[in-house]
Amino acid sequence: LKIQQAELQRQWQYLAEAQRLCQSGIFGWKVSNGELVWSDETYKILGFTRETNPRIDQFFDRIHPEDRERLRELRDRSAQNGTDFDVEHRILLPDGVIRYVHVVAHAGTDHSGNREYVGIVSDITERKRAEDERQALSRDLKESNARLEEAQRVAHVGYWEWDLKTGDVIWSDETYRIFGLNPQERRMHLSMIREMVHPEDREALYSGVDVELDAGVQPVAEFRIVTPNGDVRTVHAITSRLWSTMPADSKDWESERPYKLFGTVQDVSELKRATEALQQNQFYISEGQRLAHMGSWAFNASGHYWSEELYKIYGLDPQDGAPTVEQYLTLIHPKDRASMAETIRRMQEEHCGFDQIERIVRPDGQLRYVRAVAVPVMEQGTCKGFIGTTMDVTEQELLTQELRRERAYLAEAQSLTHIGSWVTNFATGQVLHLSDEVYRLHGFEPNQGQITLERFWDTVHPDDAPVVKATVKNAIDTRTDYDVPEYRVRLPDGSIRFLRTSGRPTGSGEIGEYIGITMDVTERKRAEEERERLRQLEADLAHINRVNMMGELAAALAHEIKQPIAASITSANALLRWLAHNPPDLERARTAAARIEQDANRAADVINSLRSFYRTGTPAERQLVDVKEIIGEMTVLLRIEADRHSVTIHRALEADVPKVLANRVQLQQVLMNLMLNAIEAMKETGGYLTIGSRATPEGHLVVSISDTGVGLPAGRSEQIFDAFHTTKPQGTGMGLTITRSIVESYGGRVWATVNEGAGASFHFTLPGESEARI
């Protein structure tokens, strides 16, 4: 028994040791009286001292309040039914520590047949904590996986794995999506993936990746893929090797080799498209700037940006970066520099934008005009910087300046010539253009602003307005030009101005739209009147001259008339005698009568040729005359006068001289003046008067009257043509002046030369018939 007791003791100790090791205690529970039997380990687990005589109530007190009700139900059920139970619950120790316990019990009966339970209570606190941690970990993992998935989806980045040992390919959901598939819709094979790579990129991709992997480089590739529905996408892939994670000391040969390839794949189609679009946009912008000669700039806290074209405009090198304000000011033309500095100061201090044209001088000395525009960038009321553009407007500016100059010249020319220009629509009354001169011509101030057509009409003289309006209206109706050569306007001071206006339809096709000029013809009108007055005066003088000449010739002319009359009287006596013969000699009488008629006519001719000389007023119209004929007449008239002074008249007339278009009396007057002068020059000495005529190669007529007289006053061959210059005691000094004015009125010329031997010659030219001015 002792040995048995010792053996039992030993076994008991083993059991106790085993209980300690697995943190499990044994218990017994007599349902009938609620008595409990605990092993040492059970005491320890439930937190009671060995001295305690445990009862079921005390045990329940130790159960965590939240689990207590559940356990009571279990106890009552078990006490009633006698079923086994297996339950986990918490206990709350007096020091606040919570412990998890696992209770397993088997129902049986004691020797007296009472129900009792025998079971094990295990402390599972550690296990429970580890499990919680594992669950938390698993939850975290799930969450982070979800986030990763989301991140991949958002960033269009997927990943893939390729198990080199098994050949399995695993794709993330996003990788499927990138390749145009539904996530995890099927298992992927290498061959399938290869097929989806764009044919043009396939070879380069695979050979490249292999080469780089062998060289130990992480391959980065960009290539195109074709999705099942035909979309082409550009993806960016990074590949890396995954090495076996087996412990280093395991002698597994596989640990020396990569066992997986891992990689990411990113859909960069959008990015690529956006980048390309951006590049395209930038190209358009820079190209646009280049074409427009416009550069742009930005100036803010992060720095100073200049576009490429801006550097070009200023002749700067982009490599040197944007200039500082001081450097920039040195580029401005000295005359514009101060104002630009002020503009920049205001911009910086008062945040004002600006828009101005300034001159710059490029480093190579070239002068350019630029239009600079700047605007402040405001954000919530504060100035964050400035942006602006600068445009090279040199060509436009020079053109504008030239235009301004031309306009000024034109205005000056209009003001000098008193010609104004205008464009107006007579139908609508719209005035489209009015030069300053038009204002002035009508008595308005140029700066008094737009004036209606009606006000212009009001200035026209009431007597002339209907005619002008009718002319304009008729032109509009027939869409033709018009010209009103003369009409009057009344100026504010009451004076009258004569204007001429002409217009022509503009090319616009608008009915009634005319462009035209208006000019001041007042001066011309006055000049015309003055000319007419002078012409009358000249005619009067010419008449006086003729009358004077007749006076000088009176004696000679009297003889010239008396002679044929005397001859006629003598012939008449003879005629009477021939009739008195017995029988009357009719033959001789007829001859005498014929002679009478002839001589009487001769006298009448002389008188006739003189009569026109005495006539006053404007000379008659011009006609074609043969100058030789007039020279003949003058020679006859002057013969007696020439004889009186022992002057012999010679005629040296070329047969073939042109006729001239002239007034007979004026031509007679010219010849008579020059011939009388020649006779006068030889009055004391007698001599020869030679009158010649010839034609010039140009077809003009030249008449020369030479004398052998006293010649010309030395050095005064021009002065003799001046009015009132005379060498004769009784002369009026008008002869040569009138001669010259007559010759010049025909477009001819008169001049005097000194002869080689003695005397002087006077010459005059007249345009031949074809060139004569009428």
Binding site: H559, Q563, P564, A566, A567, S568, T570, S571, N573, A574, R577, W578, H581, D585, R588, T591, A592, R595, Q598, D599, R602, D643
Partner: protein, 76 residues
């Protein structure tokens, strides 16, 4: 032209109309007449010894009537 007993009247005048009129008048009264345009022409044609009547124009070209009269007196 010459016939005895009828005297000849010589006419010197540069005006042809006047010359012819005077010659015609002289002839109408039955006398003989000869006319010359100038005195020199007359002198070159006529011998001064022949007695005659002379109608002379005072104003003549080259030699005036008065000069001619003086010249005739010289000749006798």
């Amino acid at each position: 032209m010459k016939s005895a007993g009828v005297p000849t009247v010589f006419i010197i005048d540069d005006d042809r109309g006047m010359r012819q009129a005077v010659q015609d008048l002289v002839e109408s009264v039955g006398l003989r007449a000869e006319s010359f345009a100038t005195a020199l022409e007359f002198l070159s044609r006529q011998t001064p010894s022949e007695p005659s009547c002379l109608v002379l124009d005072v104003r003549l070209p080259q030699m005036s009537g008065l000069d001619f009269q003086r010249r005739l007196t010289e000749i006798g």
